[in-house]
Amino acid sequence: MRNPQLNENGELIHLLSLDGLSREILLGILDRAEPFTAVAEREVKKVPLLRGKSVFNLFFENSTRTRTTFEIAAKRLSADVINLNINTSSAAKGESLLDTVDNLSAMQADMFVVRHASSGAPYLIAQHLAATRRSHIHVVNAGDGRHAHPTQGLLDMFTIRHYKKDFTKLSVAVVGDILHSRVARSQLHALATLGVPDIRLVGPRTLLPTAADRMIESTSLRVCHKLDDGLRGVDVIMMLRLQNERMQGALLPSPQEYFKSYGLTPEKLALAKPDAIVMHPGPMNRGIEIDSAVADGKQAVILPQVTFGIAVRMAVMSMLAGGSAQ
């Protein structure tokens, strides 16, 4: 079965997941993003790659940060951007996901940027568009359930490459609520494909999938339940956000105990390499998964991540719907 995000020539037509994308495609996106970082420095922060195109931000789940960065990215590419918060409109009236998509397609959309609470929802949309001969409309997954957040994964790779250059010599720790994290899943596929030889998943058993060691087919993956084991000697620490609702449903006893076992403090950070970088997809819970001294410290690259995120999203959108990069 063909990966629905690729056409018959193996080219990217949608960005649904980093699972199954080749090293060439991943690096191609990162390379394309490089010049876009300079666009923000210009006096006129725009390039005309998506001029005349309509980008629909379809957010079935609340998000301010991701939606805003997609909006900025599309506007810097000169696209027309329409924001729809569907959880407060049609879905609440009982309209099905595909009916919503059909209606917006009829408004001549060129791209859907989709966030949805269900894993796989963007696949359903892409398959529906293909089945109704509308594959010229591109779908970008902006986060689906626990499954994937590919642009976040890509901007994380961009950030790592910016600070560490070579992926093939790195030790990387992903720390926190891996079970519920679409960010972690996208990071894992990208890290493995780009050749990172030591990937560690760190968290309590209640926040890791039962088959955590088989989340990706890679011999570099290792599961650690102790933060010390996970952090010792690593070059990159990728923290995950801990949702407050995890305290319900018997997953964790309290935020305090979580912070004590898995919170990133300056003492724990000292276990990593002296030049290790600290990343976080935001929004952060200070004092729950990360200590303010680390979040604001000189090893944190959390704000550059946000800046790079715009360039990476410009790269993805222009690659799918635009001409060649400038």
Binding site: G120, D144, R214
Partner: protein
């Protein structure tokens, strides 16, 4: 009507008969099997079974007909046509209709509606508890009188184990069989796929194998304690099957079945969130699927079921976790039995026991059902074991077009189906 079925290979799994012969039918009964017609037999119709197998009509221990309550998903008429096209002449329907089959009137109505020439015989399973809520017992004796052949909960678990034990005690009082699916309600909560590598990768909430084994341990212990006649529906895991084997070794008379989907598929078949692979119980790991296929072959599993569950397109064209569980299956039961037999090199006569004499035995049907012999009911399935076809929406007669086998090429096409001597289906479209 007197019918001669000529030139076929007659297979009767219950007796081991497997030879070229004619089958002679008069009225609702088989009156002869052999090379010469019974004395004075003058056929009014002759069915040519050249190249075909003539076997007892198939018996399916689980097929949702969706009546009453879910007529937008399927009707008795549409599903009976599908059953006939699938060679099925008898089927058991679970009690999760709307309202559930917890009152004699509902059962009588269903039996009455289904009593039409050419329709498969319908055996309802009555609800074990009212509204399937797991709180109060149904009037089992009354329901049995109305036609229920067993009592169960469909896929709804009884959370309160005291109620479960009493329900089994009460059923055992009258020697009514209890049919249960083993699924711990708490461990299943929120889950949509097998808790394994695929769900971890796709970010789907998992249902652990322990959901089955924990519930099975409870049910098996209660069956031993109460003496209830137990049938376990829809075993899904190797570990679950091992518990059933162990209970049997300890002397418990328990039977069980597996679905055509769990026999052939596993969680990898979810692919890119294919909602047709959203099933209950979930498709499990490849090793579970292999253990189930082996268990069906070695006799640990008694029966293969279609687990027919027609679902409307709207309930499947949603994200995977929102999709309604279930797959259509009446028309796939035979070809998927043959597929299993071919893959495991099981003789045809032995494979067919799983969909004929095996389910007849679980149903406790007296002699004369699920077999081919003079005097037996003329429920017959005549199929071409070599004919290939591709599963497509257009080909399926069921109102439910939902199956993970869409697009698959399968072998084994039904030519004729006779229910009680009545030609219920003909691929030739002569009648």
């Amino acid at each position: 009507m007197k019918i001669e079925i000529r030139n076929g290979r007659v297979i009767d799994p219950s007796s081991g008969l497997d030879k070229p012969a004619s089958v002679y039918v008069a009225g609702s009964r088989i009156v002869g099997v052999g090379e010469t017609a019974p004395r004075g037999f003058q056929p009014e119709a002759v069915l040519d079974a050249t190249g075909c197998v003539v076997c007892p009509g198939l018996i399916d221990l689980s097929a949702r007909l969706r009546e009453p309550g879910f007529e937008y998903k399927a009707t008795l008429e549409s599903e009976m046509a599908a059953a006939a096209a699938g060679g099925i002449t008898r089927l058991v329907c679970p009690p999760d209709t709307d309202p559930p089959l917890d009152e004699p009137g509902l059962v009588e109505m269903l039996k009455y509606r289904a009593r039409q020439p050419g329709f498969a015989q319908v055996h309802p399973v009555g609800a074990l508890t009212t509204k399937l809520e797991g709180k109060r017992l149904t009037e089992m004796a009354e329901l049995a009188e109305a036609g229920c052949i067993a009592f169960g909960q469909a896929s709804v678990s009884i959370v309160d184990t005291q109620v479960l034990m009493r329900a089994m005690q009460y059923a055992a009082t009258f020697d009514f069989p209890v049919w249960l699916q083993a699924q711990d309600a708490h461990l299943t909560k929120g889950g949509v796929a097998h808790d394994g590598a695929v769900s971890a990768r796709l970010g789907l909430a998992g249902i652990p194998v322990a959901a089955e084994t924990v519930a099975l341990a409870t049910i098996l212990q209660l069956a031993a304690a109460t003496g209830a006649r137990l049938h376990i529906r829809r075993v899904s895991s190797a570990a679950g099957l091992a518990l059933i084997r162990a209970a049997r070794a300890d002397g418990l008379a328990v039977t069980c079945d597996v679905t055509i989907n769990h026999l052939h598929l596993c969680d990898h078949d979810i692919g890119f969130f294919n909602a047709h692979a959203r099933l209950d119980p979930p498709l499990r790991a490849p090793s579970d699927r292999d253990a189930l296929a082996a268990g069906l072959a070695d006799g640990s599993i008694d029966v293969l079921i279609s687990d027919h569950t027609p679902v409307d397109d709207d309930a499947k064209q949603t994200p995977f976790d929102e999709a309604e569980a279930g797959a259509t299956g009446l028309e796939l039961l035979l070809p998927l039995t043959l597929k299993w037999a071919a893959e495991r090199q099981i003789p045809l006569a032995q494979a067919l026991t799983k969909i004929t004499s095996g389910p007849a035995r679980v149903l406790g049907l007296s002699t004369g059902c699920g077999c081919i012999a003079p005097g037996a009911v003329a429920d017959l399935c005549i199929f071409d074991p070599a004919a290939k076809f591709t599963v497509s929406r257009e080909r399926l007669k069921s109102q439910g077009k939902n199956t993970p086998f869409l697009g698959c090429e399968l072998t084994g096409e039904v030519r004729y189906t006779l229910t009680e001597g009545h030609l219920a289906f003909s691929a030739d479209k002569l009648l």
